[in-house]
């Protein structure tokens, strides 16, 4: 057991980025298609999304609604959402019969246009861990605010302000960069920033960046803060609107089972 654990560790250590990508991509097969179609929403938000009442993630962010079902995010961003396994880290626990190894998967998900998510999942098998991490990543999708370095020509391409995020001992600092600078960062945060849709940025990091888990979480934290920063163009008073739960309260009042039965009947007819 100990040897196997060691072997895995070395193997994975070497093929961290590339090997992981290739292997895991191939691992997914057909049978999953069935499960994906039959999504029965459990939460109110889920039901609204399934009905199509909520069109964009921004409506969800506006009211700070908790996203508990990953299908919600898939319904909004679906095809543009790409995921990438950053690392599979074997972690071990000591038992009297040797070590108990589990695999921790770090997955970054994003559409390259202002939304990123980070998921971390530990499981006894690599595939399960990855699958779980992807789901968690989708649940944690965050909007990223982009701005300009100088002249406001074209689309926003960089971070609007200098921001910094910290996790553990790792701090990541992002500084706005002029167009054409590209993402000036280490391999790990570069991935995350690419998924976020940031084109140019200068970064600086501190602490034990070797710990990938903390490094990735720190950049994620940093991106989270971009929308938390009050800039003068946000000074205007907000005009409050009805929360989707209030707006669609009649639709939500209908018991979920009734809606499901309706759907089933429709399918049966067709």
């Amino acid at each position: 057991m100990a040897e196997r654990g060691g072997g895995f560790g070395r193997g994975f250590g070497r093929g961290r980025g590339d090997r992981g990508r290739g292997d895991r991509r191939g691992g997914r097969r057909g049978p999953r298609r069935d499960e994906e179609e039959k999504w029965v929403p459990v939460t109110k938000l889920g039901r609204l999304v399934k009905e199509g009442k909520i069109r964009s993630l921004e409506q969800i962010y506006l009211f700070s609604l908790a996203v508990k079902e990953h299908q919600i995010v898939e319904a909004m961003l679906g095809p543009q959402l790409k995921d990438e396994v950053m690392k599979i880290m074997p972690v071990q626990k000591q038992t009297r019969a040797g070590q108990r190894t589990r695999f921790k998967a770090f997955v970054v998900v994003g559409d390259g246009n202002g939304h990123v998510g980070l998921g971390v999942k530990c499981s006894k098998e690599v595939a399960t861990a990855i699958r779980g991490a992807i789901i968690l990543a989708k649940l944690s999708v965050i909007p990223v605010r982009r701005g300009y370095w100088g002249n406001k020509i074209g689309k926003p391409h960089t971070v609007p302000v200098k921001v910094t995020g910290k996790c553990g001992s790792v701090t990541v600092r992002m500084v706005p960069a002029p167009r054409g600078a590209g993402i000036v960062a280490a391999r790990v945060p570069k991935k995350v920033l690419q998924f976020a849709g940031i084109e140019d940025v200068f970064t600086s990091s501190r602490g034990s960046t070797k710990t990938l888990g903390n490094f990735v979480k720190a950049t994620f934290e940093c991106l989270l803060k971009t929308y938390g920063f009050l800039t003068p163009d946000l000074w205007r008073e907000t005009r409050f609107s009805k929360s989707p739960f209030q707006e669609y309260t009649d639709l939500l009042a209908k018991p979920a089972k009734a809606l499901i039965l309706e759907d089933v009947d429709k399918e049966a007819l067709v």
Binding site: V42, K44, S64, A66, E69, F245, Q246, T249, D250, A253
Partner: protein, 319 residues
């Protein structure tokens, strides 16, 4: 406010009732956020709550409750026994959803649970003992209303109603008032009239008390049930006015001394349709001892109205 010629304004009458129920008595400690509601500290150390402010906060809370379009989205909760009966009755009369007893952690956050519920509003009797629902509501964007004593923590409580949440009369009185305000604002009850439901219905009954009451009522159950049939069959808003049959008008109120509560209290004036529905759902969660009143006349459908004349002799209480 100067007292009017004979009567008191609604607010003054309410405040008098609250004084009688000891709503104004706080505790020996005062939380800094509750200081604004305190009038004075008594010589024996107890803080006195300003009931005028309590009344205004009750109004505010009632407005919020009325603003929720679907009353089923409101959850009223009490872990403590003193508040359980009040909470159930409140839910019955306003159409809310009651949770009496233990709040299973995760009801508002764990979507996998069977009891998963996503309410739009939460009403609690005590922020200290009901701290778990407060925490979960904070995670789920649920506004919270709570009856706060002078020493209650106000963390995550959006509308705190300063009141005594320790005494059973106090809790009952508050919920009764809140229910009445809500019904008045909705237009179900007219503001001038007295609400037919007695406050006593909202008070907590000790198990021995409830048992005694049950023992008294048991032999009289069937007999009184027959009497209640006519009462139920009659649409409420014709109480005093169009009584087609003179026969039941007289005996009904006087000949049932054993069931004063039934005749007077369990009969919301204009709220018949609402109450009927409420009774459909109410009997199940109610503790049997305290609720024989409601249980003895559960889902009596309005269809029985035309037929009661002929059906009366053969009518048996559905229990």
């Amino acid at each position: 406010m100067a007292q009017k010629m004979g009567g008191l304004s609604q607010k003054e009458a309410d405040v008098q009732m609250m004084l009688a129920a000891d709503v104004h008595l706080g505790t020996k400690n005062c939380d800094f956020q509750m200081e604004r509601y305190v009038y004075k500290r008594r010589s024996d150390g107890i803080f006195i709550i300003n009931l005028g402010k309590t009344w205004e906060k009750l109004q505010l809370a009632a407005r919020v409750i009325v603003a929720i379009e679907n009353p089923q989205d409101i959850i009223v909760q009490s872990a403590r026994p003193y508040g359980q009966r009040a909470v159930l009755k409140f839910a019955q009369y306003t159409g809310a959803h009651a949770i009496a007893g233990r709040h299973t952690p995760g009801t508002f956050t764990n979507q996998m649970q069977t009891s998963f519920n996503e309410p739009r509003l939460l009403i609690l009797t005590d922020p200290r003992t009901d701290h778990q629902p407060i925490r979960e509501a904070a995670l789920g964007n649920i506004p919270t209303i709570a009856f706060c004593d002078t020493d209650s923590p106000m963390k995550h409580v959006d509308i705190g109603i300063p009141a005594n949440n320790k005494g059973k009369h106090s809790i009952g009185c508050l919920f009764w008032m809140l229910a009445r305000m809500v019904l008045q604002m909705r237009g179900t009850i007219l503001p001038g009239h007295k609400w037919d439901i007695m406050v006593d219905l909202f008070f907590y009954r000790e198990p021995e008390e409830a048992k005694e009451h049950e023992d008294e009522e048991a032999p009289v159950a069937e007999y009184t049930a027959d009497y209640t049939a006519p009462a139920l069959a009659l649409p409420g808003d014709q109480w005093g006015a169009d009584i087609p049959d003179a026969q039941w008008g007289a005996p009904e109120p006087s000949a049932i001394p054993a069931v004063p509560a039934l005749a007077a209290s369990d009969w919301p004036g204009t709220a018949v349709p609402i109450a009927a529905e409420g009774w459909d759902t109410a009997p199940a969660p109610l503790p049997p001892a305290a609720e024989w009143n409601a249980a003895s006349m559960p889902s009596i459908p309005a269809a029985q109205v035309p037929g009661w004349d002929s059906a009366q002799p053969g009518w048996t209480p559905e229990a």
